[in-house]
Amino acid sequence: MISFLIILFGVTMLYVSISTRLESYIKVLAIQGLILFLIILSDYSILHITSLIFLSFETLLVKAITIPTFLIYIIRKNGIFREVDPFVTNILSLIITSAIFAGGFYLAFWSQGAVNNIRPLYFGISISTIITGLFIIISRKKIITHVMGYMMLENGIFLLALSIAKEMPFIVALGVLLDIFIAVYLLGLFINKVQESYSDTHIDTLAKLKD
């Protein structure tokens, strides 16, 4: 069951790499939150009861519901055009993402000798998600897609942290700190402010400072 969920998680990242609408990014973020929630539920034995409650609350309410709703609100309010505007074509993006996943799996299999009790699938998918998140950040033009790419990266980190939740529960808690803290901060404080001074939330307009 968990393997299925994790693979599904990986597939969402592949889907992101070829989709051209902001809405599908938001949907993917919501689905990823839901998947993380289901992973936590089905892996409940590794977590302490308080962190189990807290994490399921965090993934379901914050990641799967609040943040996507807030993103939709921002897009409507600021009138951001719905196309994603990538620097690279869809096919190239898909090829690169697949290559990242292949690399991630290679690393995971390579790590098998060194693994104590970490599932290679966990490790492979989460590390590929993190790198794909970085790729999405650098290959898309809009500021809002940067923020979304960053959230996907965070989800990857969350998945990675879950794989050692049994040994080091506080690492997962720290991951949540990063997640909520930065997501709220970036969104609440900046997207709105950036919108005030720039006519479009596009990084092309953030290119005045350079040498």
Partner: protein, 468 residues
């Protein structure tokens, strides 16, 4: 004692936000800076600890003193900055509150004995300093803040990935206290450690300003108010560097010295190269100083990569760079205030317009490029010696060549700005004495350090180098 350093600023910040009084701002900031200076000097004689998470040791007390000295100078300069500022008291209070939290967060980074706690404090430095960069509220300041926040938050996430990977390799003992990590360094699984180190190096290195993850640094340093730039360059980079030093030591103890050293050498050379490329043709003098910071961080990385005598050189370089660059940035603030231009072409005849600032500008230049007797000469000399000793002749030639290019680039700008006739319309505003005193004190300290290192400081540096 440590509790005071960490909790006082939080209490003071809350008080400031409630009171919103100009006098209060100045008194509390000055009070904290004096307290910081006195306490951090006292830690050298009486080591202190606060719970098991904060402790002074041979390495971090030196970093703490550098932070205190730079902060003391900057807080004097901030008094002048606030006096000249037209912002309402509410905004000034918010600004000073953020300064206090920022310094407290850096103190936390320096003193923490736990890897995850250190990481949390690094995140706190990012959040508290972003408001400081945004203070002028111009469009370009907004852009700089956005870049700073976004790039650094990605960096922090990467460092977190590194911490997770390290935890995976720990096996049985799940403690992230540095002492526990060092004690069981041999038992950490080398595969995970090798994977974790580049992540942590890139993550904390983003805050240090290593190229190629330096993109935020020139923007943030040039758009922030000059006292804040001085604080960023003189103290924040050091605090993040301490995190790298701690992890570096773990690598040494785990028997992966060559791996860590080679990565540091590569990243150091890239940093120097990138700053050389940009400095040759720079148009904005504050950006020039920012690139010079990248260069100096690169030099420190190279010194660490050489090892041996390089460690001593690295620590000396950290101290010297902090004081010099803080003085340099504070002086750039004075120049900016008088000429109203960050462009190099907009400033001419500095020595005739404002002799004190002109001389400071020249002295800081001499200090940063390492003209003897300034201590940067000594540290760079030791680095070159270390390179010869370990047979890195080609690297040494490249190193010296790049340093010469950077020296020429900065020299061209500084001399062009300093000499020449006074320009019309530049003698309206006179700065108060506080806009000059801290820099002269820094320069005097550096000269004292360069002519003969006092025995007490020499032993401090030696002990710190012995830790690594």
């Amino acid at each position: 004692m440590i509790a005071i350093l960490l909790l006082f600023p939080v209490a003071a910040a809350i008080l400031l936000l409630i009171a919103r009084s100009r006098i209060f701002n100045m008194v509390l900031m000055l009070g904290y800076s004096i307290m910081h200076l006195v306490l951090s000097i006292s830690f050298c004689i009486y080591p202190a600890s606060f719970t098991q998470y904060f402790k002074t040791d041979d390495l971090n007390r030196l970093f703490l003193i550098v932070l205190s000295v730079v902060f003391a100078g900057v807080s004097l300069n901030l008094l002048e900055f606030l006096r000249n500022s037209n912002e309402p008291a509410r905004k000034q209070s918010l600004f000073i509150a953020n300064v206090l939290i920022f310094v407290a967060a850096m103190t936390g980074v320096i003193l923490s004995t736990h890897l995850a706690l250190l990481w949390v404090f690094v995140e706190a430095t990012t959040l508290s300093s972003s408001y400081l960069i945004y203070f002028s509220r111009s469009e370009s300041a907004l852009e700089a803040t956005w870049k700073y926040l976004f790039i650094c938050s990605i960096g922090i996430s990467m460092a977190f990935v590194g911490i997770i990977l390290l935890s995976m390799g720990l096996g049985g003992n799940n403690s992230l206290f540095f002492n526990d990590l060092y004690a069981q360094a041999k038992n950490i699984n080398p595969f995970w450690l090798k994977l974790a180190f580049p992540f942590m190096l890139a993550g904390f290195g983003t805050k240090v300003g290593f190229a190629p993850v330096h993109a935020w640094l020139p923007d943030a340093h040039s758009e922030a108010p000059s006292p804040v730039s001085a604080l960023l360059s003189g103290t924040l980079l050091n605090a993040a560097l301490l995190a790298i030093l701690r992890i570096d030591k773990l690598m040494y103890l785990a028997g992966m010295k060559w791996y860590a050293q080679n990565l540091l050498l590569v990243i150091g050379f890239i940093s120097i190269f990138v700053s050389a490329v940009y400095i040759i043709n720079i148009k904005n003098y504050k950006r020039m100083l920012a690139y010079s910071s990248i260069e100096n961080m690169g030099i420190i990385a190279i010194a660490l990569g050489i090892g041996g005598i390089g460690i001593f050189a690295a620590i000396l370089h950290i101290i010297a760079h902090s004081l010099t660059k803080a003085a340099f940035f504070l002086t750039s603030g004075t120049i900016l205030h008088r000429f109203h231009s960050k462009s190099i072409m907009g400033v001419k005849g500095l020595l005739k317009t404002d002799p004190a600032a002109g001389w400071l500008w020249l002295l800081c230049f001499a200090g940063i490029v390492g003209i003897p007797p300034f201590p940067i000469f000594l540290s760079e000399f030791l680095i070159v010696k270390g390179m010869i000793d370990s047979g890195m002749i080609i690297q040494m030639v490249i190193f010296l060549l790049l340093l010469t290019i950077i020296m020429a680039g900065i020299g061209r700008v500084v001399l062009r700005m300093s000499f020449g006739e006074q320009q019309p319309g530049t003698d309206g505003h006179r700065e108060g004495i506080l806009a000059y005193v801290p820099q002269f004190v820094f320069i005097a300290l550096l000269l004292a350090l360069g002519f003969s290192i006092p025995n007490a400081i020499y032993t401090l540096i030696l002990k710190a180098a012995a830790v690594l």
